[in-house]
C-alpha cells in the first residue's frame, strides 16, 4: 500500500496533466473550426475549376501537355508526404507514415528510386531516421495558417522536377477528412496527371443548342496554363484536409487522455481515502489499546 503522501502527490500530478490535455483539446477544437472554415471556403473554387478544366480537356488534344503524358519507363518516384509538425494526436501520423512506407517498399521492390517532399516534421523525421532522400521540406505549414501561395510554390517545384526528368511519377499522401472520427490516409497520383474527367455539360439537353465556347488563347494553351494550377489546387486541398484531420485527431486523442485522467483521479482518490481510513483506524486502535492497558 502506497503511503498517504505518495498517493496525494500522484493525484496532484495527474490533475495537472488533465489540465494540460483539456487545454490542448480546447485549442484543437478552435483550430479545427478555423481549418474547416477554410476548407469550406475553398470548395467553390475547386469545384468551378474542375468544371472549367473538364470542358477544356474535351477540346484540347490528348497530347496537349507534357504533364499528361506517362513516362514509358518509371525509374524515379517522388512522394509528397503530409504529416503534422507536432505529436499528441493519436495514430494520425503513424497511419500516414505507414502508408508511405508501404508505397515506398512496393516501388523499391520494383527497383525504382524513391525520394520525398515533406510537409510536416513527423514525416521528415521518419525519412531522416530511415536515411531516405528528402528533396524538400516544409515545416510550420500543416495545422497552421497558410495560403494558396505555399501550394503554388511547392507545386511549381514539383512540376519543374517532373519536366526536367528528376521525377517520373509523383504521388501525394495525405489524410482525408471524412469526419471527426475518420481520417484515413489517401494516396493520390499528382503527376503525370491521370486522365481528366471530361465534363458532361455539353451533353446536357438544355445546353446542346449552345454554340461551343470561344476559347482564348487556344484550348491547348489554356489547358497548359490550367494544368499546373490544377496541381496547386490538389496540393492546397491536401494541405487543408490534412490540417483539419490533424486537429480532429488531436482533439479526439486529448479528449481520451482527459477521460483517462478522470478515471485515474477517481481511482487514486479512492486509494487515498482508504489509506487515510486505515491510518485513522490504526491510530484509534493504538489509543484504545493504550487505554485498555492502563485500566488493566
Amino acid at each position: 500500500m502506497a503511503s498517504l503522501k505518495e498517493v496525494k502527490s500522484k493525484i496532484v500530478s495527474v490533475k495537472k496533466t488533465k489540465q494540460i490535455t483539456k487545454a490542448m483539446s480546447m485549442v484543437a477544437t478552435s483550430r479545427l473550426r478555423g481549418a474547416q472554415t477554410s476548407m469550406e471556403a475553398f470548395r467553390p473554387y475547386a469545384g468551378k475549376f474542375a468544371e472549367v478544366l473538364g470542358s477544356i480537356a474535351d477540346k484540347a488534344g490528348d497530347q496537349a501537355s507534357p504533364l499528361l503524358t506517362p513516362r514509358e519507363e518509371v525509374k524515379k518516384v517522388h512522394i509528397v508526404l503530409l504529416t503534422s509538425d507536432r505529436g499528441l494526436c493519436g495514430g494520425f501520423n503513424f497511419n500516414l507514415i505507414e502508408e508511405a512506407e508501404t508505397l515506398m517498399k512496393e516501388k523499391s521492390a520494383q527497383g525504382v528510386e524513391v525520394s520525398f517532399t515533406n510537409f510536416g516534421k513527423k514525416g521528415r523525421d521518419w525519412c531522416r531516421n530511415r536515411g531516405l532522400k528528402i528533396s524538400k521540406e516544409y515545416l510550420n505549414v500543416v495545422g497552421g495558417k497558410f495560403d494558396f501561395s505555399v501550394a503554388s510554390k511547392s507545386g511549381q517545384e514539383l512540376i519543374d522536377g517532373f519536366i526536367s526528368g528528376n521525377f517520373d511519377e509523383i504521388y501525394v499522401i495525405y489524410a482525408n477528412f471524412q469526419g471527426m472520427a475518420n481520417q484515413p490516409p489517401v494516396i493520390k497520383q499528382l503527376l503525370p496527371i491521370p486522365a481528366i474527367e471530361k465534363s458532361d455539360v455539353e451533353k446536357d439537353e438544355n445546353t446542346t443548342f449552345m454554340a461551343e465556347h470561344i476559347i482564348e488563347p487556344s484550348p491547348d494553351e489554356l489547358l497548359n496554363e490550367m494544368l499546373p494550377k490544377n496541381i496547386f489546387i490538389q496540393i492546397y486541398n491536401s494541405l487543408l484536409e490534412t490540417s483539419t484531420s490533424e486537429h480532429a485527431a488531436r482533439m479526439k486523442a486529448m479528449d481520451n487522455a482527459t477521460k483517462a485522467c478522470n478515471d485515474m483521479i477517481g481511482n487514486l482518490t479512492l486509494a487515498y481515502n482508504k489509506a487515510r481510513q486505515t491510518a485513522i483506524t490504526m491510530e484509534l486502535m493504538d489509543i484504545v489499546g493504550g487505554a485498555e492497558a492502563l485500566k488493566g
Binding site: 473554387y45 472549367v52 494558396f148 470561344i214 476559347i215 482564348e216 488563347p217 489554356l222 496554363e225
Partner: protein
C-alpha cells in the same frame, strides 16, 4: 434597363463577389473584353489587372485580380483567380512595400534568372493594386 448577368469572383480563400451586374470588363490575355448579358460562351485566361463592373444600380466598381480565368455564358460570368480584392480592400502600404522590394530585386537580378520573372510579376501586381486603389471611391 439592360438585362442583368450574374458575376461571380472566386478565390481559393473565399467568394469575393457574387452579385447581379450590368456589365463586366476584364483583362483577358489577348486583350481587355467586356461582357453583357447574352454573351456567347467564352473562356479565357486573365492577365494581372483590373476588373470593372457596374452593379444592378449602375454603380461602377473595381476589383484587382491576378492569376485567373474567366468563363462567360449568356447569363453568367465566373472568374477564378488566385487572388482578387475589392478596391476598398486593397492594402496600399503593403502594395507599395511590395513594389519597392520588387524593384530592388529587379535591379540586382540578371534577366535570364527565374527570380527576375517572379520579381517582374510581383511588380506588376503591386503597380496594378496601387493604380486601382488610387482611383477608388468608384
Amino acid at each position: 434597363m439592360a438585362e442583368l448577368l450574374k458575376l461571380e469572383v472566386v478565390t481559393p480563400a473565399k467568394y469575393v463577389v457574387s452579385e447581379d451586374v450590368e456589365i463586366v470588363m476584364a483583362p483577358g490575355t489577348l486583350g481587355e473584353f467586356g461582357v453583357l448579358s447574352g454573351h456567347t460562351p467564352f473562356l479565357t485566361s486573365l492577365k494581372t489587372g483590373r476588373i470593372l463592373y457596374k452593379d444592378a444600380n449602375s454603380k461602377e466598381k473595381m476589383l484587382f485580380v491576378s492569376g485567373g480565368f474567366a468563363e462567360a455564358t449568356p447569363n453568367r460570368v465566373t472568374i477564378l483567380a488566385e487572388s482578387a480584392e475589392k478596391s476598398i480592400d486593397i492594402d496600399v502600404n503593403r502594395a507599395k512595400a511590395a513594389l519597392e522590394r520588387a524593384q530592388k530585386r529587379l535591379a540586382e537580378q540578371k534577366s535570364e534568372n527565374i527570380n527576375f520573372e517572379r520579381a517582374k510579376s510581383a511588380m506588376y501586381r503591386a503597380i496594378e493594386r496601387i493604380r486601382i486603389a488610387e482611383t477608388r471611391g468608384l
